[in-house]
Amino acid sequence: MGESRHSLVALEGADLGHGDRVVLPGLRLRLHHGERVALLGPSGAGKSTLLAGLRERLGDAAAWCPQHHGLVPGLAVYHNIYMARLAEHSALANLWNLVRPLRTPWREIAELCAILGLEGLMRRPVGRLSGGQRQRTAIGRALYQRRPVFLGDEPVASVDPHQALRLLTLIEARHATSVVALHQRELALSHFDRVWGLRDGRLVIDAPVTELSLADLDALYPDAEATTAADPGDPAEMAAPAPEALPCSRGRA
């Protein structure tokens, strides 16, 4: 079904990494327009590297929601979201905006905050927000960029499952194409068209979700495999861990 669409990024044996260190050697994949891709894999498998590579290739087409948010704690929610459009205003306007918010951005960001459930918090410094509120601010900043492609590095890692669903739907509604790194395997199957699975620096899964089951995705995680091999009692339990049991995003590569 993807054959008819044009591809936004085509990697044909590309080496991705940081500086001289290659993390993902000889990578082959295509990102098609209109496709929603879930990016799965254990920590350290190269998810962030792949997203950084895509961001570099997509340039201005990509909205970017980094891991750990990358927010400025000392600035208000409004200013953090405004930063998405810094390049579109003059330096003078940006400076003035710190003194007094510009009219149009203030209105636009207020609308966005209402949708994200951040109403009333626009003037609060990000340093005084809860983890979930920060997460939504980071997503708000990515949405405010208004780009056709959304690249998110675990953008729903620190919110509860209901909010995760809501936020993913919001991202879906505003971007034709998206690539989102996740840890929740069920979400990947229920909310995306395609799954890319990374393990040890290789792309081991690149398939539409219709052809995948939770067990296929489990193969990505060496720990899960080891435990299932040792104790083949209840594979279903392994496949769907409670959200509380999911490792938090801190400290992951």
Partner: protein
Amino acid sequence: MSDAVTPARPAWLAGRAPGPRLARHTLTLVALALLLLPLADLAVITRDPWTELARMARGLAWPAFGAVESPLSALGLTVAVALWGTLGGVVLGIPLALLFARSRLVRAGCAFVRAIHELFWALLFLQVFGLSALTALLALAIPYAGIFAKVYAEILEQAPSAPRDALPPGVGRLSRLVYTELPMAWAQLAAYTRYRFECGLRASVLLGFVGLPTLGFQLETAFREGRYPEAGALLWCFYLLIAALPWWSHRRLVPLLLAGGAFLLGPWPAVDGGLLWRFVSQDLWPAPLRAGDGAGLADWLAHIPDLAPAIGNTLLLGLLGTVGALLVALTLWPLASRHFGCGPSRLAGRGLLILLRSTPELMLAFVFLLLLGPSLLPAWLALSLHNGALIAFLAARHADALAPGMPGLSATGRYAYELLPRIYPGLLALLYYRAEVILRETAILGMLGVATLGYYIDENFQYLMFDVAFFLLLVTAGLNIAVDALSRRLRPRQVPLDDPCLR
């Protein structure tokens, strides 16, 4: 289980863990200092230091506030010079900080102005601008510009880069600075500026030693003439000023202080452009060099007093001072930490540390010199106590922010197992940072008669041999830069950062 092989017991301080590695590092440093100790002249020259000490203590205990002539104007001028001098340093330092990473020239220039102590700058400007406010302000603003440039650049660079990386492409330099780098680093920038202002206060006091009418002028005269009750009163004034710093230097009061200080600054010199130019273009340079006379220059160099002992003494005192500061810091920090002792003991410990760290090292050295006579000993004591107390104070504050994992431990257990392993890397890094400062102070202690480079610089300025004095200043600066480079290489890396912004 019982016949499992016990792994070999490690030898003394063996192992690659940070603990033993830093311990080995420290012991090497201490051993080096002990090895070189016999080379230092540590003789006690005065006959009866104890009577003199008793008189001083009495003066400090019963200060004669009535005897001091116009203490308020001296205090006011001290504060005004520190405030405006620091502000000058900030204004000059910010643009330099932005260029710092990119321009080798800026880095070299900053390293040079930093390497010369405020007092030497004062001596230099004194020749042109006389005993004026301009001399005092330039003496502070110029070295501080170099320091601010470096430290601001480092703080900005170490600010978490995640927000900067998250920006969309094409954001201008100024917007990036004010939206990501400045807010991420603001708290540290402000804290550092505040700290530097406190250093400026001390330096401002010291400017009295070269004759500018700040607090130090009266202090020096009173001490020299043995009027200890008056000296005690002046010292107490200074301590009160420092202790009350958090209240009177509130952010909102700063503009008021600046405006008030502007009135107190003075006298302003009549700047003679021709004279200034002659000083900069002729007086500072050896005549044969200006004439392009190679043989004459060699002759000129031959007339400079033998510098090797002075350089040796400067370096030796720097090393001894650094090691002494480490030992003092390790001994004193528990006194001020909430993990040790009881309420009154902590209060006393904190008071002692604040007293030692607020007293300018030149002042301490001056007092010890009066007691012990002109050898390296008073200088060593002064450097160790002042810098050790400063490091101990910061270490105690670092320790206070930690929560011990095992609450029931004995005091030694807490010291050795819970707290020291966590604060020691930071403490050592701070010490290496101070090593450069200590060396810079070593040079100025020469002005008191200790045979370091500063002694000859002061002497040549007094004989109006500006070319020789300037040459010696350059040698001092070169030495400082070399030691700074060395200490940066030796400094422990991966010091854990406990900044809340990183969490």
